[in-house]
Amino acid sequence: MASATGIPAVPAQKAPATPIEPLNTDAARIYTHIHPFLVLSLYAFKFNDLVADPVPALLSTLLPLAVLQIAYVAICLPPTSGTSTPAQFKKQKLGDKKKPAPGKLEKGINGTIVPAFLSLLLTTLASTPLLTSTLVLFGAPVTTHHTHTLLAGAHIAVLSTLPLVYVHGVSGETWREAVALLLPIDEVYGGLIGTVLGAWLGAVPIPLDWDREWQKWPVTIVTGAYIGYAIGKLLGGTLLKGRKIMFE
């Protein structure tokens, strides 16, 4: 397994990617901790419905989840500056620190809400199909349960990639690094890794002969993704922050 060793991010030749710092506002500091609880509570609240009939439950949870995630990125995270290089990005962030809270609502909407919805759009259009096909590659049923798998993919996408799109934009290089596990760990990236690992580990209980309703597709996968997201975000934002994943 990839290990998060204790070596801090070493400067490479190109501009180094730095871990994402949450915004330096009170709301951000508080909400970033509340958010995982809200997400998990939403999931726990819907869990029985999900076990009873996955498709409608997953579908109806998707919107609240998206709202929560949008709120999270809008309140807590610095939006990407489009095609800006990490260096510029860093500078902008420093600027933020110096003059706290401009207080302009309009600027807030332009700066946060619009990118948040753009990330949602991108998540829906690009990352959901990609993650769904990844699920199929890892053994999701091909001939049946199409909606189940698609919705599971959508949940994983909203959990994992929406915040990442919001903070990193659509730069191909950054995304290659993200997929190759080269970015430094922060709460957003940690959330992504946690979600994907959780979904993978979620397949473990399916073959057991416990004859429980919740063993059916894709309940365990989605559950694993949610729990993995919460753990990954927590660890990424605290313990493992700034570290890089070492392979060899």
Partner: protein, 944 residues
């Protein structure tokens, strides 16, 4: 490096030791009582108080026995509504036949079942191995007490009892020199539906006219063969049942009409059933529910007072196979003994079937029968629970109080039940109460004695497990690259740790394939991520690791396996290969063979050019020219055509529904061919061509040695391709296309720069994956015997055993060899690159993994001394073996620990014991024989 190799060798030598030590503790020979049982004097005061003196044994209603075993005769084949056995059903309705469902305990394969039927005991699991190694003579019943021995010893009138036997030669092996006349048939030719049965039936009319025998045993195999081939719903099944029904009619009519047969008991039974796939060995309801019918015109005496029996009928539980009363298979022995009037065999744990008590008119005779049966069972119980006191008739007469036994357990309870029953027998209760108590004791004894927990040699279990753990430790310390911890090493450890834990979960033993599929998917994705990090490979979508994952996804759906979702749709059974669509299957099969042909012809072309230009050029590797390629194709094509024709002819007999898409004209011609000769032709051709390639490669290697150039693995690749052709011959037609997928996967893997530990892990994962993808799982019933006799005309234990192993472990064997090629970097592209390398520069060929290793070492800038290349090369193989050995050690240790810890578990005989048998095969045959033996050979070939 020497101590390391010594440790590794020691670890590998310990593997068979650990396996055997554990096996002898886990499957002990059950102690049995030698000698024949004899009637003893039994005396008791009957309820009227009159003394009877020594009681005569009750007079037997029958003096002849026809015992007809139909292999795999599941209860519904006789009793169900779709059964073809209408005559037997009419006898059941008339009251001249008594139907039962005879519960067969696991393992449900023929030899242990015959033992249970004849001795009345419950055979140990060891008989499974002996069943496959049939030549073993230690498993005979010649010295044991059986009803056959009793009949032989009994005097019928003025003659000794005589036996005749026709059918499955298992009986002849179990009872050597028992039979007056016998004709055995081998059960391994599973594609034979008619010949095996005709071989039995042709003797029946004559034997029915003979009056010199007292028991005729027949064992029909055709029905079992149909099941193995095409399952219980095969179109051949009902006609076969009708055929069996006709034989029953012939015999029954003779019993009715012939005077010398008038006192004949006719028993029809199955030795085991079959599951929905037509296989057996496990413990599903279908496998453990054979039919058991007693027939005789005299049976009306006991059935006349009964209510009318319905037949055909529905099973009591929907989807199960419980028709009429369910009894134990071992009950057959005491029942036959009682009905023919001889003592119950000594090791019997069966109970006289109470229905037949009606043959005796007096109550005391009935009680005496049960009492003798119970007394014999008591002996075994007494031998097991030596500390308990079992009273005799004489001693018990002193006690009068009634015992309360329900609160006791184990031996105490049995002793209490026995003592209570004995007191009843001498007491003044009615005979019905006496018999109730005797039966109660016997049922409890049967339960207790057949439960698994009683017979382990626990110290050996611990010793075996300890040895396996020692193997793990020894091989762990031989792994070279403990530091720095590589990611492959971490993933390897994760795999081992998870595997060890999962072996304790019965459902994960049944669903083991899911673990391997899951972990392999993860591994390929992980290789993908690792490769992306390097940034060398620009194509992120058509990336080799991703492609390998895509193929893995197809491979895992090829055959549905395991228990939980058994029978779910998979690629093979979805219908795209069946009926008229079978053309699609044969196109894929053709493509697979074409690919192999192409490769083989290239190898031949190379050897032709080597021998052709032996003197002409001093160059080591001459490029094959047009005429050489032509020559290669000319030799390879007939060989592969023969292989395809064999596959076609075999499939026409094996699974005809897969050949309907092919024109009848072709099939008619193909079906005329002799399978054994064809198979020999293919095997011989493969051996011949490989010998030739070997010779030419030897020429090349001597030339290379002169120029001090290392080998580039051409011979190893040639071996892989020739061996693939052999494996294809041993594979069912519907699985042949898998090898095309494997080959493509192999190709993609050669494009990845895998390190040594990554290669070892990939080899392990793909070996396991391919085993399950070929349709096997951890139950004995999944073992496929259909390819066991390819090219073998008689029973040859070595050849058949080898073919059985190869045809079932074909996938793992393929990947072991392919893994060695991966390790050496002998893949498609690298081989060609290295060849051009050596032609142009004569430089030492660089293996892709060596490059990777160097780059990696360089990256980390570790102050590690660079090892000389030659030394490192040798090291690679040792490290590879170390990782494989560690895996085998962990597998054995975890399976053994699970079997030891869970030895009282409900599923110990159905899930964990078969898993241990599979672990034995993995450890001995696959790891030692294939991975190390064959793999080491290929590794050496690559160095030529």
């Amino acid at each position: 490096m020497a101590p390391r190799k010594a440790l590794l060798a020691l670890a590998n030598l310990l593997i068979p030791v650990a396996i055997l030590v554990f096996a002898t503790g886990f499957f002990p020979y059950k102690p049995f009582m030698p000698g024949l049982a004899e009637y003893e004097d039994v005396t008791w005061m009957s309820q009227q108080g009159e003394s009877r003196g020594d009681l005569q044994s009750p007079e037997a209603p029958f003096d002849k026995l026809v015992f007809m075993v139909v292999d795999a005769l599941r209860s519904d084949f006789v009793y169900g509504e779709e059964s073809g056995m209408s005559f037997v059903q009419s006898l059941i309705r008339d009251g001249t036949a008594l139907p039962f469902t005879a519960h067969a305990t696991s393992p449900t394969i023929t030899m242990p079942r015959v033992k249970a039927i004849t001795t009345g005991s419950i055979p140990s699991f060891l008989d499974v191995i002996l069943n496959f190694a049939e030549s073993d003579t230690t498993s005979t019943l010649a010295t044991q007490d059986t009803w056959l021995a009793q009949i032989k010893a009994k005097r019928f009138g003025d003659k000794q009892g005589k036996l005749v036997m026709y059918g499955d030669d298992t009986w002849l092996k179990l009872f050597p020199d028992f039979f007056e006349r016998a004709d055995g048939t081998s059960s391994f030719f599973v594609s034979d539906f008619t010949e095996v049965d005709n071989n039995v039936t042709r003797h029946v009319p004559n034997e029915l006219l003979n009056d010199d025998w007292n028991a005729m045993i027949m064992h029909y195999l055709g029905l079992d063969h149909i099941g193995h081939k095409a399952g219980p719903k095969s179109p051949n099944m009902v006609p076969k049942q009708k055929e069996m029904d006709d034989i029953v009619r012939t015999i029954y009519t003779a019993i009715e009409n012939e005077d010398h047969l008038s006192n004949t008991l006719f028993v029809l039974c199955g030795d085991h059933g079959m599951n929905e796939g037509g296989n057996h060995g496990g413990s599903s309801p279908g496998e453990t529910s054979p039919a058991l019918v007693f027939m005789s015109p005299k049976l009306t005496k006991i059935t006349q007072n009964q209510a009318d029996v319905q037949s055909p009928m529905q099973p009591k539980t929907e989807g199960e196979f419980d028709y009429y009363r369910t009894v134990e298979q071992s009950d057959i022995a005491p029942t036959v003994a009682g009905l023919l009037g001889f003592p119950v065999p000594r090791n019997n744990l069966g109970i006289f079937l109470s229905e037949f008590l009606g043959f005796w008119d007096t109550d005391s005779d009935r009680t005496q029968l049960l009492y003798r049966n119970a007394r014999q069972v008591k002996r075994i119980v007494q031998a097991t629970y030596t500390s308990q006191i079992f009273e005799d008739l004489e001693t018990s007469s002193r006690h009068t109080e009634t015992l309360e036994c329900n609160h006791l357990n184990g031996g105490e309870k049995l002793a209490c039940l026995w003592n209570r029953a004995v007191r009843q027998v001498v007491g003044n209760d009615t005979d019905i109460t006496k018999r109730e108590h005797l039966s109660k004791f016997m049922y409890e004894a049967q339960d207790a004695m057949s439960s698994a927990a009683s017979n382990y040699d626990v110290s050996r279990l611990f010793l075996g497990t300890g040895l396996a753990i020692l193997i793990c430790m020894l091989s762990f310390f031989t792994i070279s690259s403990l530091r720095p911890v590589s990611s492959a090493g971490l993933y390897y450890s994760l795999t081992l740790a998870l595997y060890a834990v999962l072996m304790f979960a019965s459902s994960y033993v049944e669903e083991e394939h899911n673990f391997w599929y899951w972990i392999t998917s993860g591994w390929f994705f992980y290789l993908y991520l690792g490769s992306l990090r390097e940034g060398k490979n620009n194509s992120w979508l058509l990336h080799p690791a991703l492609m390998a994952l895509v193929i893995h996804r197809i491979v895992r759906r090829w055959n549905q396996t395991g228990q939980k979702f058994a029978g779910a749709d998979d690629i093979v059974s979805s219908g795209i290969f069946h009926g008229n669509n079978s053309m699609l299957l044969w196109v894929l099969v053709g493509a697979t063979y074409l690919d192999v042909t192409n490769r083989i012809s290239r190898h031949i072309a190379r050897s032709v050019v080597t021998l052709d230009k032996a003197v002409a050029t001093p160059r080591v590797d001459a490029e094959p020219e047009q005429q050489h390629r032509m020559m290669g194709s000319l030799i390879a094509t007939p060989l592969c055509v023969a292989a395809v024709v064999f596959k076609l002819a075999f499939t026409a007999k094996d699974a005809p529904e897969l050949t309907y898409g092919i024109s009848e004209g072709i099939m008619e011609r193909v079906e005329m061919l002799n399978l054994v000769d064809l198979a020999r032709m293919v095997f011989g051709g493969i051996a011949l061509v490989f010998a030739w390639i070997l010779f030419s490669e030897y020429q090349r290697s001597t030339r290379r040695a002169k120029l001090h150039i290392h080998g580039n693995g051409d011979l190893a690749t040639a071996f892989l391709d020739m061996f693939t052709l052999f494996l294809l011959t041993q594979t069912k037609a519907q699985n042949v296309p898998l090898y095309l997928l494997f080959r493509i996967q192999f190709f993609f893997l050669t494009l990845l720069p895998l390190t040594q530990s990554q290669t070892a892990l990939t080899t392990l994962l793909l070996s396991q994956t391919s085993f399950f993808a070929l349709g096997l799982n951890n139950s004995i019933s999944s073992i496929d015997l259909s390819n066991a006799y390819n090219g073998v005309s008689g029973y040859n234990i070595l050849a058949v055993g080898l073919l059985v192993f190869v045809s079932n472990w074909a996938g793992p064997v393929y990947w072991s060899v392919a893994g060695v090629c991966l390790l050496g970097g002998y893949g498609e592209n690298s081989a060609r690159e290295t060849r051009s390398d050596s032609i142009t520069t004569g430089a030492k060929p660089k293996r892709s993994w060596v490059e990777a290793e160097h780059a990696h070492l360089h990256d980390l800038a570790k102050p590690k001394a660079q090892i000389a290349d030659g030394k490192q090369e040798k090291d690679v193989w040792t490290s590879h073996v170390a990782l494989l050995t560690l895996f085998t050690g962990v597998m054995l240790a975890s399976v053994m620990a699970a079997c030891t810890a869970l030895r009282t578990h409900l599923f110990i005989w159905t899930v964990f014991s078969p898993k241990y048998l599979f672990a034995m095969a993995w450890g001995m045959a696959w790891h030692l024989g294939v991975s190390l033996g064959l793999g080491g050979l290929v590794w050496r070939m690559g160095k030529w």
